[in-house]
């Protein structure tokens, strides 16, 4: 194929996206089925939980009436499909605890988690990409060793340990930042850093490895021998080729942050998705947990899809490899 696969045209991409979307249907069915099934096999009865939460002593008649009212006495598959149908229409049920609509709860919680996740990914990329390139270029030198050592340390610290450390130093001792979240910009600084520090540690190593791999390629030797400036080689060629690794890292880290922010939200009392779900779990508030799990998976699946499409634009070979003809 002469002239490049890049010119395949918009229709091919559209067809690829459509096919990917079609392939998502069984996955989404599976995800919702597992999520709903988990509640079904759970040892605690949601109706008793609900009645206890509202302070009613659960007598058998009340429990039965309630179960009938909620449709929980119907066969499992009927329940599942009813739930799925309502879910698709945006009705995720009501919280067992305070009767609020789960959709509304999720909608107020999502922005906080997204701010945290996007902020920490941006900080991570801002630090790990330059430092990764720097260490790769200075491979074997003292600065490489120091940064690698620090990134190894960062990689071995769980984010909740980092956040406790930051909280102790910068909020309790130095009082530079608020201890609890107030929703202001300042109160997002520590949680974002707490998430970004371990990720930066991890990704410096991976960016370094990706850049080192590129630096070993013949085209770099060729450019050097032709007298192309190092800076140009690095930022024009190596960066572009290492971009795929970096984008993969970004999408992976957003994936691990969906849910991974829970501990941080708990520590800083930041009312995001993780905070919401941990309180829902203590109370066994199943509709909230289900809404959380399904929504997180949907977001994750969409991010993966976008990542794959972006590969297609960054590297035409990937597109042909994925079977776009």
């Amino acid at each position: 194929m002469k002239g490049g696969i890049r010119k395949l045209g918009q229709s091919t991409v559209t067809r690829y996206v459509l096919r990917r979307l079609l392939a998502l249907i069984p996955v989404l069915l599976g995800v919702t089925f597992i999520t709903y099934g988990l509640m079904y096999i759970s040892p605690k009865d949601p109706v008793e939980m609900m009645l206890q939460a509202s302070g009613t002593a659960p007598s058998q008649e009340v429990v039965d009436a309630m179960r009938h009212q909620l449709g929980l006495d119907r066969p499992f598959l009927v329940q599942y499909f009813t739930w799925l149908w309502n879910f698709l229409r945006g009705d995720m049920g009501i919280s067992y605890i305070d009767g609020k609509s789960v959709s509304a709860m999720l909608l107020t919680a999502i922005p906080n988690t997204l701010k945290l996740a996007v902020g920490s990914v941006v900080v991570t990329v801002l630090f790990s990409v330059p430092l990764g390139i720097f260490t790769a270029v200075r491979q074997g030198k003292a600065s490489d060793a120091v940064i690698r050592f620090l990134s190894f340390i960062g990689n071995s610290l769980p984010n909740f340990v980092v956040s406790l450390l930051l909280l102790y130093i910068f909020a309790l001792k130095l009082s530079w930042f608020p201890i609890l979240s107030t929703g202001s910009f300042l109160s997002f600084v520590l949680p974002t850093l707490a998430l970004a520090i371990p990720m930066t540690g991890k990704y410096i190593r991976q960016v370094r490895a990706a850049v080192l791999e590129q630096l070993g390629k013949p085209y770099v030797d060729g450019s050097v021998s032709r007298g192309v400036k190092t800076r140009v080689i690095l930022f024009r060629d190596v960066m572009r080729n290492a971009m795929i690794t970096i984008v993969t890292l970004m999408s992976m880290s957003v994936g691990s942050l969906l849910g991974g922010t829970a501990a941080i939200e708990m520590i800083f009392v930041l009312p995001g998705m993780g905070y919401m779900v941990t309180s829902a779990i203590t109370a066994r508030d199943y509709p909230v947990i289900q809404g959380f799990v399904v929504w997180m998976s949907v977001i994750y699946i969409l991010i993966n899809l976008l990542t794959d499409i972006s590969y297609y634009y960054m590297d035409p070979r990937v597109g042909s490899g994925l079977g776009v003809e």
Partner: protein, 277 residues
């Protein structure tokens, strides 16, 4: 074939030995505690580290040092169990999938796709949340989500090994599928699985302590739940947070060093990437 230096091997054996010692130690550590790790003693509450209480006491007067020792089992040993469990599930399904092919393969791989659609720790949070806060449930919840990487890994190896002439010859000789699996396929596919497993250890450790931190795993002495207990008292008793943090940090470092050294020896070309868990 790249050669592996003797020093890399020595390093691996050293970390492996430390790791095994630590695992054995974690099983017996609970017997070495100077105080009962669960016994509340309000007379001795919130004591700073001293000669009687090496790492101080928490708000109930429980000895932190004893609790750190007792927590070793639920942190170190539990991560080992998570890794072994997901390895077993993943390898079995992956081998079956790759070797059987056809519709079986299709079904298993769709199952893998479904489980991989749950991001990071989300499914574990749900599983642990539904089953109730127990260490056993936390371990199950994490194994239930991390087996997929082993299944995919070993399936791809099985698929390529199947095409080798010696496997075809064995099949023509009339060897049973099981004996082909054990004599030809496993010995070839085991290296990448071991590498992935050791790299998985630190992730498993961080996840299980993360789950306990959220109150979704062990409720007795565990490093993650100790941190969670201590965080509201951090200003008065920083030692409640400090020592469990150090324990988590040191063990994770050891696991990372072990993972890196095993990868350097068994997979010098570096095909295995660290797991994002």
């Amino acid at each position: 074939m790249e050669t592996v230096s003797a020093s890399a091997k020595k390093k691996m054996y050293f970390y492996l030995a430390v790791f095994l010692l630590l695992c054995v130690f974690s099983l017996f550590a609970v017997r070495l505690t100077p105080h009962d790790p669960e016994l509340a003693n309000l007379m001795a509450a919130k004591k700073a580290p001293g000669s009687e209480y090496l790492m101080g006491t928490d708000w109930l007067g429980r000895c932190i040092w004893s609790r750190v020792l007792a927590g070793a089992k639920s942190s170190i040993f539990a991560s080992l169990v998570i890794v072994v469990l997901s390895m077993l599930i993943g390898c079995t399904l992956g081998v079956v999938s790759g070797y059987a092919g056809g519709r079986v393969d299709e079904v298993i791989m769709r199952l893998v796709d479904i489980f991989m659609a749950f991001p990071g720790i989300v499914l574990s949070i749900a599983v642990a949340g539904m089953l109730g806060p127990r260490l056993k449930n936390g371990v199950l919840a994490l194994a239930a989500t991390s087996w997929t990487q082993y299944a995919r890994l070993i399936r791809s190896y099985v698929l390529s090994i199947r095409q080798e002439n010696y496997v075809k010859a064995a099949r023509l000789n009339g060897q049973s599928p099981l004996s082909i699996l054990f004599r030809h396929v496993f010995p070839n596919a085991i290296r990448p699985v071991v590498v992935t497993g050791t790299l998985h250890l630190s992730g498993a450790m961080l996840s299980i302590s993360g789950l306990s931190f959220l109150g979704l795993s062990s409720t007795s002495a565990e490093w993650g739940s100790m941190l969670s207990d201590g965080r509201s008292l951090m200003q008065q008793c920083p030692w409640m947070v400090l020592y469990p943090s150090i324990a988590i940090f040191l063990v994770t470092i050891l696991f990372n060093l072990l993972g890196d050294s095993v990868r350097d020896v068994l997979d010098p070309s570096g095909k295995n990437k660290a797991i994002n868990n």
